[in-house]
Structure formats: structure tokens, C-alpha cells
């Protein structure tokens, strides 16, 4: 399952590619979820993973199961959409956000933030903490969206496993945390519950970047490590959607390994902090 970039000439693989395309088409036509333009090696790996887990011999068999059993569809959907996240992931980014972007947002009377692909909410809570510490929380509305409703339910709880907390604390400190991180949570068994007041001005809602339209104009959009799962065409589409949803002189934040790939889009932004991948819309 390594070396996803190379598509081997072996007919078996070709067949499998075809099968996966058919599976995705089926899912789109039947369930309405459009994974057709996701990054294909990623899909291959995820599908294979599901095949192993369900003990199925071929993708076509999986397709049959997926179309007749919403349970399996749910699991496959989870494979496609549950992505990795952590609090204050890439602390440098959050530090830059704190130093370069939030001061500019302070000037505004009302701030709208869209966090596209919030997954299980770790980043949303990080953002909420950041805004609170910078005195912005009262006039800010965060829209945290994700395709996966199960993830969203998780996110609403604001409860994370204790196992990652030491890392999160380190991240928080590196991101320029102004308080003791422990002020924000209490431990209950092996879960850490974050202060529910943090999510007061966060709306968790389902939104599909692939099929859904823009739903507001924002001053800040975070879409981190989402587009890496998409192919070039879809990346372009999503970048256009983000551009459409961003106010002029608003900020766009991408993942640490992502960039603006569409040349027409590149001209619309000036880099605020290239390392942190923060861009400001200029036209």
C-alpha cells in the first residue's frame, strides 16, 4: 500500500481502480457523498483497509455490501473522513495566528470564523482558547463544520482522551499560551472534559466542501489538512469556494504541508506568514 503515486501497470490494479471508481460512483449516486475526487492513493488505502477489516475479497463485494448495508457504509464513511487532529497542532501556526492575525481582527466589531473540517473538535477548542485569551471571544462566532456527523457529535462534547494531554499541553505552551492549560479542563477517568463555556460561540454543523456551497462571508477561514485528501481538481474547486467565502482582507489558513495550488488564486492573496501558511485576501 506504499508508493501511492505510482499506478502500476498490473491489470489487477487497473481493475481495482475501476472497481473503486464504481464504488465511489455508487456511493455518490445512492448516499449523496461525493468522494470521487478525493486523492486516489488515499482512497485505495482506505478501501483496502476496509476490505481487510470486513474480511471481504474484492472491492466489488464491498460495493454490494455498502449499497445494501448502511452499517458498512457508515464504517467506510468513517474510514474516508475521520482524520487526524490534535489541539494546537503545529504550535507555530497558532503562535502566528495569535500574533499576526488576531490583532487585525480586534479592529472589527464582529468576527466570523469558519473552521472547515473540524473533525472531532480539537482545533475548534484550541481556537476558542486562543480567542478567549486574546479577548476576542465575546464578539466572535466560530462555525466549525465537518462532513462526518459522528465526528461533529464528538466535537460538541469537548471531551478528549487523557493520553494526548501531555502533548496538547506542550503544544499549548509553544503556541504562546497565556494561562495554565489546566484552567480549561477537568479530568474524568481517562477523558479530559474541556470547559463547556469555551464552545459557547461555536456552531458545529455538517458541511460538505465538495457538494455544498458557501454559506456566509468570513473574516478568517481555517481549512487545515483537509485539501491534502483531495485531488487537484477538487482542490481547485474548494479553493474557489474558500475564496468566495472570505471577505477582502480576510485571512485564510492552510495546513503546514498545503499551499495555494491554483495560480489564479495565488494572485488573490498575499502571504502573511509563509511558514504558518497564513494568507490574506487582497482581491
Amino acid at each position: 500500500m506504499r508508493g501511492g503515486l505510482k499506478i502500476s501497470e498490473c491489470p489487477d490494479e487497473e481493475l481495482e481502480t475501476l472497481e473503486i471508481e464504481l464504488l465511489l460512483e455508487g456511493i455518490y449516486r445512492y448516499y449523496g457523498f461525493d468522494f470521487r475526487n478525493y486523492f486516489s492513493p488515499y482512497l485505495h488505502r482506505r478501501v483496502k483497509h476496509r476490505l481487510q477489516a470486513e474480511n471481504l475479497p474484492s472491492v466489488s463485494r464491498l460495493q454490494e455490501q455498502v449499497l445494501h448495508d448502511p452499517g458498512i457504509m457508515g464504517r467506510l464513511f468513517g474510514d474516508f473522513t475521520v482524520n487526524v487532529t490534535e489541539m494546537f497542532r503545529d504550535p507555530d501556526f497558532f503562535l502566528s495566528l495569535r500574533r499576526n492575525v488576531l490583532p487585525a481582527l480586534k479592529e472589527l466589531t464582529h468576527v466570523r470564523i469558519w473552521q472547515a473540517g473540524c473533525s472531532t473538535g480539537e482545533e475548534s477548542y484550541s481556537l476558542a482558547i486562543l480567542l478567549r485569551e486574546e479577548g476576542l471571544s465575546s464578539k466572535t462566532q466560530i462555525y466549525a463544520t465537518d462532513l462526518n456527523e459522528v465526528s461533529l457529535e464528538e466535537a460538541k462534547k469537548g471531551s478528549f482522551p487523557i493520553a494526548s494531554m501531555q502533548k496538547y499541553t506542550r503544544n499549548y505552551l509553544l503556541a504562546g499560551g497565556k494561562k495554565a492549560f489546566s484552567e480549561y479542563y477537568t479530568v474524568d477517568g481517562d477523558r479530559v472534559n474541556f470547559n463547556s463555556a469555551l464552545s459557547n460561540n461555536t456552531i458545529f454543523a455538517q458541511h460538505d466542501l465538495v457538494t455544498d456551497r458557501s454559506f456566509n462571508e468570513f473574516d478568517l477561514i481555517l481549512c487545515r489538512n483537509v485539501m491534502i485528501y483531495f485531488n487537484k481538481q477538487l482542490q481547485k474547486q474548494v479553493q474557489n469556494l474558500l475564496h468566495e467565502s472570505l471577505k477582502t482582507s480576510g485571512f485564510l489558513c492552510l495546513g503546514s504541508k498545503e499551499g495555494l495550488t491554483v495560480s489564479s488564486q495565488v494572485q488573490c492573496y498575499e502571504p502573511m506568514d509563509s511558514n504558518a501558511r497564513i494568507f490574506r485576501k487582497i482581491r
Binding site: 492513493p41 487526524v84 501531555q166 479530568v187 485539501m227 491534502i228 495546513g255
Partner: protein, 898 residues
């Protein structure tokens, strides 16, 4: 006439006229002056004289009257004054006469003179009289009628004179006014005349000048916008305009010449600019071009109309990227075209030197073809087709190498301009092509690297995800394991209870049962002979049933003992012969009784003795044999001791050799294949009905198997319905030499089991417990230590404390099992920062969680804490809940590690 003469005449005549008017006015003014002089000097003086005459008379009269009234005042001085007055009036009259020559006045004056003289004489007489003192006479004389008449006459005459003079004066004034008016009129007339003349002359002079200038300016104006052919001025007048016109005409000549030259320059310049414009137009076209094909297309489609080519192909060099085939491997292939179907030429490969395209590439020189044969090549349009007039091939070079070739065809000859343009552009094209190619390469590399980075990110996220999944699977597994363990424990407990219960019960049962058996046997013996045979039979039945019951109880006890691991093993050297004898003794009578053949066979290759627990082996064999006898009605029963084949040993999974096999073969009812395994389970027989037919507890085989397992062996059963069964016991028999020492008692089964099964290790974690964890509190404030200690001890934590950094280091070196440190910052001697730094220096404690307790919420303090090596910080005063949460977080990993 010249301008100068004209202006002289014009302005001269005006000046003359003005001079005339001025002199006229002067003359008149002079006249006026004269007449006024006369008026004032002559007539005024005369009026004055006339008035004086009258006043002198009045004066004289008054004085005389005064003297008459008061003769005392008569003095010679007074008389003098009167005479002087009289004399003066005479003089005045004479003066008047002298200056006057008019008759009327002369008469008047003469008469006045006369009267005045008479009056003088009278006055003199009066005076004389007065002097003489004859006042009465004088008064009388003075007031005579004649006297009065004289005075009136003088008065009248002088006033007549005055009137006359006034009349004359008035006349003169009237005359003067008239002459003044006339003069004014004259002056006005001349002024008007002068103005009129001046205007006429000026107009004449102006017109003359302006007409000439207008003519010139007209011509110049006409020529203003036409520099190439300017109008000339006809030289008609002989004035100063003549030279101007001449000069202008010369200038026009030179301007025309200049313009022509300029035109020429302009044209060249225009051509140059056009060239530059086109060049820059084409260059700007290439900005932000993503790839060569787009660039070539853009270029060929742009340049062809500019150079009026009707057909164009762009060949690009390809292949031979390898150093070796650099020259040999190159070929040119069409990349873009103008007015040409690309599909027709696509894929064409033209090597260097091949055809004109190849030749052009080889020579690095353009090739121009004219006089193209009619059937050479045709340019099509919807309406028709025709051969081009000329074909042009051009190389595009970069760093001395031809990187592309252009081919154009046109219906006309390529002009110099077009070829210049091409030449200029081609120079740039080489560089541009190269840079675009570079750009494409860089972009593709960039894209590739971006894709790879993203792919890497995806994969790393997936890995993380899989890790996450693994963890959750593990968690589940562990949960299951824990649950199953719990269940096992429960089951164990239950079975323990069962065993204990059974053991106790058996014991409790056996005691009364034994008494019952003994009693029943006593009854059955009927030693006293007082029982009826029926009663004896009953007693025997009770005894036999009791014995069965006892056997059952013993079996149950055995089984439970084995199951609960309470069965002990006593290893000893066992002789096969002894074993055989014992069995033979026990079962031969039974065989005999049932009419069965009973054989015991010992394979000769077996050693005489082996090491095992004789008791248990015997018990197993007895069980098997009694079963065999129970279920066999006829035929034979065979007990066989033998050495199994190596293959069988391997198959049975024995690692220890040698292995002893003991088989019991019968010719009984047999057991269905499905039930072969079942029969080893406790309280089972092939079917429920059997027990009634054959009796027995159904525990025998279970006990056998358990015992066999206990000894490290196993029991196998083979059977066929109606033909009989073979039960084989496999026993590992350690070589006796190894056990030459005293037979050892090994307590538990574990000794024989293969390898101890270890409790699986899990990545994941139970809820974090603070219990049993050791915390070191470093604080110089005993109250804090006390408060924290009592808090932590309620959570069953072990608390150590140190009052300063040095003590903390000592404590750490003494107790390596410290799980977490709570570190106050402000301490004497060695503060928190220093202590933390010192702790982090020790390799053992690099990862030890240290929580800094900061008194201040200062940002710098926090940063200093982290820099010094704190894992986290918390602000004092400490909130209990927060501290406990924090400690759970930081004790988490250590909890799982240990």
C-alpha cells in the same frame, strides 16, 4: 511708400495741427487778458477817482461842520487837513481829465472842476471867517443856499461820472465775453478738424501697414499645418514686409527640406518602434505561460499574421536528454501550427540534417525559398487553395544550440521589415523558450514535491489514524480480556467454591456412608443368623448401592481435586512388570467371569522402568479397563504397552521424549464418532440411556483425561460402532537417569505445561489513578507543604517533600521512584528555576513531570519556567480540582509504563 514715411506724414500733420490750435488759443488768451487789464485798470481807477472826489467833498464838509460847531477845535493843523482834502479833490479831477479824452466826460469834468474850485473858494472863505472868529458869519455862509447847491452839484457830477464809467465797463465786459465765446468755438472747430484729419491720416497709415502684415500672416497661417509643402509669399509691396516675406520664403524652403528629412527618420523610427512593439507584444504574451505547447501555440498564432504568413509550423527539439545521445538522439517535432491541421503533422520526427527543417537546424541559418513549384504545397481556405509564393525556415537558438525551428509560408515575399522582426524575435525566443522550459520543469518539480508532501502528510495522518485505531482495538481487546479475566476469576472462584464444597461434602458424606457400609456389610454377613434371606439380600443391595455411592463421591472428589489443581503428583520409578501384575490380578477374575479374553502385552523395546506417578497411571488404566469390561459383552480386551512412532509423538505435540503409549482395545459396542470428544466431559456418556444400562458415574473418562493431562500426557479414543474402541494413553516418560536423585514432588501442573502464558501487554491504559503514586513537593513554606500533603494523601498518594532545591536533589537521588514533582519557584538558596535546570541535567529525570507552582501570572515567569524545564505550571493558590486534573494528565504515561 514706406511705413516710416507714412507714419511721419500721419503723425507730423497731427502735430502741426495741434501746434496751430495751441498758438491760436494763446493769442486769444492774450487778447482777453488785455481787455480785462483795460477794464480793471482804466475804468476801475476812474470810478475810484470819481468816488474820491465825492468823498473829499463830504470830508471837507464834515470837518467844516465840526469846526463850525466847535470853533475851539480850529487849529492850523485842521485847516491844513481841510486844504489838503480840497487840493486832493482838485488833483483827482485833473487826473481824471488827463486820462480822459471823451467829450461828454470832459464837459462833465470841466464843470465839476469849476464847481469844485468854487466850492474851494467858499471853504476858504469859511475858514478865514472862522480864523477871524466870525463863527456866525462862517456858519451862515456855509449854510447858504448856494453852498448847498454847490455840494449837491459836486455830488451829482461825480455820481454821473461813476455811472458813465460803469456803463463803459459793462460794455467792455460784454465785448470781452463775446470774443471769448468766439475763441472757444474756433478752438473746438480746429480740434474737431485736427481729430478728423488725425484719424484719416492714421487710418491711411495703419491700413497700409496692416494689409501687408495680414498678407504675410495669412500665408504663414495657411502653411502652419503643412510642413511638407508650405505656401510662398508674393512680394508685391516695397516696404519692410518685402524682406520679411523673402526671409519667410527661405525659411519655408528649409522647413520643407527638414520636414522631408524628418519624415524619412520618422518612418524608419516608426518601423523600429513597430518592430519593438511587436517584439514586446510577443514577449509579454509569454508572461505566466504554464507550458511550452501553449507558448508555441500563442507564438505561432501571433507572429504569423504580423509577418503576413499564411501558414506556419513550430518544430521543437525533443529527445536526447541523455548526455550520450545528445546529438544523435535529437529530433524536431511539430508542437504548434498556424492554419495547419496539427493532426496531420503531429508525431512527425525530423532529425538534424533531415530535409530543410533538419538542414536549417544543422546550419543554424534561415532558409528562404521562393519560386515554389506549383505542386510543392498548398495553402487551403474554405474557398480554395494555392501554392505559397515563398517559404521561410528559421532556427531558434539558445546558447549556440538550435532548440526549435519555425517554418512559414506566404503568398507574398517576406519584406525586410518582416524578416528583421523575425530576426529580432528569434533572438529573444531562444531565451524565452529556455526559461519557459525551465519554468515548466520547476513547476512540475514543485507540483510533484507538493503532491509528495501532501501525500506524505496524508500517509502520516493515516498512520496516526491507524495507530489510533490500533489503540482503540487494543483498548477493546483489553476490555474483553479484562472482562474475560474477570469471568475466569469468577469461574475460578465458583469452581473453587464447588471443589471446596465437594471436598467438604464428600468428607461429610463419606463418614456416615462408611459407617452405613460397614453396618450394611455386617447385616449382609448375618453372623447372628436372625435375618431372613430377603433381608440379607436387601442388606447386600444397600451395601452395593452404598459402595457405588462412595465410588461416585470419590470420583467427584478426584475430579474436583484435579480441576482445582489440588491433585499432587508423586514421581517415582515405576516397573512395567509390577504394573502389569497389579492389573492382571485385578481384572483377570472379571474377564474370566464375563467370559472375555484379557491380554496384556508389553513391547520388548520398552525400558523396564520409567518415571511417572504410579498411582495415577494405575488409576487411569483401571478406569479405561473397567470401562472396556463394562461395555464389552464378548470378544477380547487387550492392554498394550508400547513405544509410539516418532511421527505420532510429533503429532501429539510432545517435546519430551521418550513417550510411553498404553492402549486398551476392546470389542465392545463402540462409540459414535461425533461423541468421541464428548465422552471425556464430566457426567457424560454416549447417551443418557446408557447410564441406566451400564451404570457408572460417567466421571471415569473425565478423571482419566485430567490425570493424563496432569502427568503431561493425553488420552486419545478411536472407535467404531459395533466393533469396539481403542483408548490410548500417551505419557511422557523422562529418562530415568535424569532423575537419579530422590523423587521430587512437584506441586502444580505448571511444571509440565509448555511455557507459562504471560499476560498480554497493552498499549492502553486504565483510567489514571493517583493511588500509590509518589509526589515530591518542593516548597519552603511548610503551610503549603502541609496543605498539599494532606490533599494528596487523601488520594492515597505517597508524598515526599523538600524545603529547598538542594534538598530536592538529595531526595531525588535517594528515591528514584518519584513520579512527579510539584516545584515552588520562590525559594531561598536554590530557587525553582535553578532546581529544575539541575534536575533536567540528570539523564534519569529528563522526562520526569515537573509542575511549577508560580505565584505570579506574569508571562515572563511562565516562559522562564518552561525554559528551565518545567513540564507545566499552575498558579498559586492552587485550586484542588485543577491540580488533581493536572496531575492525572502528567501521571498518565508513567501509569502505563510502569
Amino acid at each position: 511708400m514706406r511705413f516710416r514715411s507714412k507714419l511721419f506724414i500721419g503723425f507730423g500733420s497731427i502735430l502741426l495741427l495741434m501746434a496751430f490750435i495751441v498758438s491760436l488759443s494763446l493769442m486769444m488768451l492774450h487778447d482777453q487778458n488785455n481787455s480785462i487789464n483795460e477794464l480793471v485798470l482804466t475804468h476801475y481807477d476812474k470810478i475810484q477817482l470819481a468816488t474820491s472826489i465825492e468823498s473829499e467833498r463830504a470830508n471837507t464838509a464834515k470837518r467844516i461842520l465840526d469846526l463850525l460847531l466847535d470853533p475851539s477845535r480850529l487849529t492850523p493843523q485842521e485847516i491844513m487837513l481841510i486844504r489838503e482834502s480840497r487840493q486832493k479833490s482838485n488833483l483827482d479831477i485833473e487826473e481824471f481829465l488827463r486820462t480822459n479824452d471823451e467829450n461828454q466826460k470832459r464837459e462833465l469834468l470841466t464843470s465839476l472842476q469849476r464847481i469844485n474850485l468854487a466850492y474851494e473858494q467858499d471853504v476858504n472863505k469859511v475858514l478865514d471867517l472862522l480864523v477871524a472868529g466870525k463863527r456866525e458869519e462862517a456858519t451862515h455862509l456855509f449854510h447858504t443856499q448856494a453852498q448847498d447847491q454847490v455840494r449837491i452839484d459836486i455830488q451829482e457830477k461825480s455820481s454821473d461820472l461813476q455811472t458813465l464809467e460803469h456803463t463803459e465797463m459793462y460794455n467792455l465786459l460784454t465785448q470781452s465775453t463775446q470774443s471769448y465765446n468766439f475763441t472757444i468755438r474756433l478752438i473746438i472747430f480746429f480740434l474737431v478738424l485736427a481729430l478728423g484729419m488725425g484719424m484719416a491720416v492714421s487710418r491711411w497709415a495703419m491700413l497700409g501697414v496692416s494689409r501687408s502684415i495680414e498678407h504675410v500672416s495669412d500665408v504663414i497661417t495657411r502653411g502652419r499645418n503643412r510642413t511638407e509643402q508650405m505656401p510662398r509669399i508674393e512680394i508685391i509691396s516695397k516696404d519692410e514686409i518685402g524682406p520679411i516675406a523673402l526671409a519667410y520664403n527661405q525659411m519655408a524652403d528649409s522647413i520643407e527640406q527638414h520636414t522631408q528629412q524628418e519624415e524619412l527618420y520618422k518612418q524608419t523610427l516608426q518601423e523600429k518602434t513597430l518592430l519593438e512593439t511587436k517584439v514586446s507584444e510577443i514577449i509579454t504574451l509569454f508572461q505566466g505561460i504554464p507550458d511550452l505547447s501553449t507558448m508555441a501555440n500563442l507564438f505561432i498564432n501571433k507572429i504569423s499574421p504580423i509577418i503576413k504568413a499564411h501558414f506556419g509550423v513550430f518544430y521543437i527539439r525533443e529527445g536526447g536528454s541523455d548526455e550520450n545521445e545528445r546529438m544523435a538522439g535529437h529530433y524536431f517535432t511539430p508542437l504548434a501550427s498556424y492554419a495547419c491541421n496539427m493532426d496531420l503533422v503531429k508525431g512527425q520526427r525530423i532529425h538534424v540534417g533531415e530535409g530543410l527543417v533538419g538542414q536549417c537546424a544543422q546550419d543554424h541559418q534561415e532558409i528562404l525559398l521562393s519560386n515554389i513549384p506549383k505542386d510543392y504545397f498548398k495553402i487551403h481556405s474554405g474557398l480554395g487553395e494555392a501554392s505559397p509564393h515563398s517559404i521561410l525556415l528559421l532556427p531558434i537558438e539558445f546558447e549556440g544550440e538550435v532548440v526549435a525551428v519555425l517554418e512559414f509560408a506566404s503568398f507574398h515575399n517576406f519584406t525586410l521589415f518582416e524578416r528583421n522582426l523575425l530576426e529580432r524575435i528569434l533572438k529573444i525566443m531562444g531565451i524565452t523558450l529556455h526559461s519557459v522550459a525551465r519554468q515548466v520543469q520547476v513547476k512540475s518539480l514543485l507540483d510533484q514535491s507538493q503532491t509528495l508532501t501532501e501525500e506524505l502528510q496524508v500517509q502520516s495522518e493515516e498512520l496516526q489514524l491507524q495507530h489510533e485505531e490500533l489503540r482503540s482495538t487494543n483498548e477493546q481487546l483489553e476490555k474483553q480480556y479484562r472482562e474475560s479475566e474477570q469471568k475466569t476469576q469468577e469461574i475460578e472462584k465458583v469452581s473453587q467454591f464447588k471443589t471446596e464444597f465437594l471436598a467438604n461434602m464428600s468428607h461429610e458424606l463419606r463418614t456416615p456412608l462408611n459407617s452405613m457400609l460397614i453396618l450394611a456389610q455386617t447385616f449382609a454377613e448375618n453372623k447372628e443368623g436372625n435375618l431372613t434371606p430377603k433381608q440379607v439380600e436387601y442388606a447386600a443391595s444397600i451395601h452395593s448401592a452404598g459402595k457405588d455411592l462412595l465410588e461416585l463421591i470419590n470420583d467427584i472428589l478426584d475430579l474436583s481435586k484435579v480441576e482445582s489443581g489440588k491433585m499432587s503428583i508423586l514421581l517415582s520409578e515405576v516397573s512395567l512388570q509390577n504394573l502389569k501384575n497389579g492389573i492382571e490380578n485385578q481384572f483377570s477374575p472379571v474377564a474370566h467371569q464375563k467370559g472375555l479374553l484379557f491380554e496384556i502385552e508389553i513391547s520388548p523395546d520398552l525400558p523396564q522402568t520409567f518415571i511417572t506417578d504410579q498411582q495415577h497411571v494405575l488409576q487411569i488404566l483401571k478406569n479405561l479397563l473397567s470401562n472396556a469390561f463394562k461395555f464389552t459383552e464378548k470378544g477380547h480386551i487387550r492392554l498394550k504397552f508400547y513405544q509410539p512412532s516418532a511421527e505420532t509423538i510429533h503429532l501429539k505435540g510432545f517435546t519430551q521424549t521418550p513417550v510411553l503409549a498404553v492402549s486398551v482395545t476392546d470389542t465392545g459396542t463402540g462409540i459414535p464418532k461425533d461423541n468421541l470428544e464428548l465422552i471425556f466431559e464430566a457426567f457424560r456418556q454416549v447417551d443418557g440411556t446408557m447410564s441406566r444400562k451400564y451404570g457408572g458415574t460417567g466421571l471415569g473418562l473425565s478423571i482419566c483425561r485430567e490425570l493424563a493431562l496432569l502427568l503431561g500426557g493425553t488420552i486419545e479414543a478411536e472407535s467404531e460402532i459395533g466393533k469396539g474402541s481403542i483408548f490410548t494413553l500417551y505419557l511422557p516418560t523422562p529418562v530415568s537417569t535424569l532423575l537419579e536423585h530422590e523423587p521430587t514432588v512437584i506441586d502444580q501442573v505448571a511444571a509440565f505445561s509448555m511455557t507459562p502464558i504471560e499476560k498480554p501487554k497493552f498499549l492502553l491504559p486504565k483510567p489514571v489513578s493517583l493511588e500509590g503514586k509518589t509526589v515530591l513537593i518542593v516548597d519552603d513554606d511548610m503551610r503549603n507543604i502541609f496543605a498539599l500533603t494532606s490533599l494528596l494523601e487523601t488520594h492515597n498518594m505517597n508524598v515526599l517533600f523538600a524545603e529547598n532545591g538542594r534538598e530536592a536533589l538529595d531526595t531525588l537521588s535517594d528515591h528514584s521512584a518519584i513520579d512527579l514533582i510539584l516545584m515552588d519557584i520562590m525559594m531561598p538558596e536554590m530557587d525553582g528555576y535553578e532546581t529544575m535546570r539541575a534536575i533536567r541535567q540528570i539523564p534519569e529525570f529528563v522526562a520526569l513531570p515537573i509542575i511549577a507552582l508560580t505565584a505570579k501570572a506574569m508571562k515572563t515567569d511562565r516562559e522562564k519556567c518552561l525554559e528551565a524545564g518545567a513540564s507545566d505550571y499552575i498558579q498559586k493558590p492552587v485550586i484542588t480540582e485543577q491540580l488533581l486534573s493536572l496531575m492525572r494528565v502528567w501521571l498518565y504515561e508513567r501509569g502505563t509504563k510502569n
